[in-house]
Symmetry: C2
Subunit: 152 residues, 2 copies
């Protein structure tokens, strides 16, 4: 299947905002941000990016496939760790330039640091004169990253 | 206060991932994505972008201030509509290149189309051979955009 058939051409503002055609907008680098959220707990897990082909693979496979900007390659989440993200629902926003993925996170967690979510720290803005600080929401790891990602 | 004092310099991987210094990474355009979520319902509201100065203003004001990429100006959300987003909590991710804002959304909704959330449509992947389609989650508007945003 060609991606031309899978995604619609970008129409006018009314078509994009009120239409039923999925016409995702990829930025100058060909990417669209995708926020993965736990479908059950609604906790944010990670924010990553997709290009047109990885979004196509995600829809066809039913599992999240990102584009790794650092490695410049397709990134089927969980291919290494087993922690795949099964797609429960994908939402897009009014101008169709962002995605929310509700996923079933298989395995212990989404974050390569061993935590369930990448968003494990909050900004402490109580003393801005001394600079913004971070506090940990979940210091404990959900899994040992060495045992999952380490070279054997 | 200078932003130099407010944010830390980017350190090494361990400092960025496991440290308490807030060293947000702004991309080549000087932006960081920020996903605003309802602090009570945990529903995603909108995804927008901040530059260093708008993030500083957000922290100092306690309300979301984005950078509008289309208008190329600071965007104090709610300045026009009254629908400000009071910051309840800001989280950042492992590599500190994305933000989640848990907000108290004042007024009827976050989306300029009149809906509570910008993410009011889901991707229907049930018949990909015919193309991906969108289905509406909340067709009904939370408010009338003309009355809120219209010229008077």
């Amino acid at each position: 299947m060609s991606t031309t058939q899978l995604f619609a051409e970008r129409g006018d503002k009314a078509q994009i905002e009120e239409g039923a055609a999925f016409a995702p907008k990829f930025d100058a680098d060909g990417l669209i941000p995708a926020m993965a959220m736990d479908a059950t707990t609604k906790e944010p897990l990670m924010l990553a990016y997709m290009n047109e082909e990885s979004l196509r693979r995600t829809l066809e496979l039913g599992e999240a496939v990102y584009w790794s900007r650092s490695r410049k390659e397709y990134w089927h989440k969980g291919a290494t760790s087993g922690h795949v993200q099964k797609i429960v629902e994908i939402r897009t926003d009014c101008d169709q330039d962002a995605l929310v993925l509700y996923v079933e996170q298989v395995g212990a967690g989404a974050c390569h640091t061993g935590r369930g979510s990448c968003f494990y720290r909050s900004v402490d803005a109580s003393d801005l004169a001394s600079g913004a600080k971070l506090t940990f929401n979940s210091k404990d790891r959900a899994f040992d990253p060495e045992s999952v990602y380490g070279k054997h």
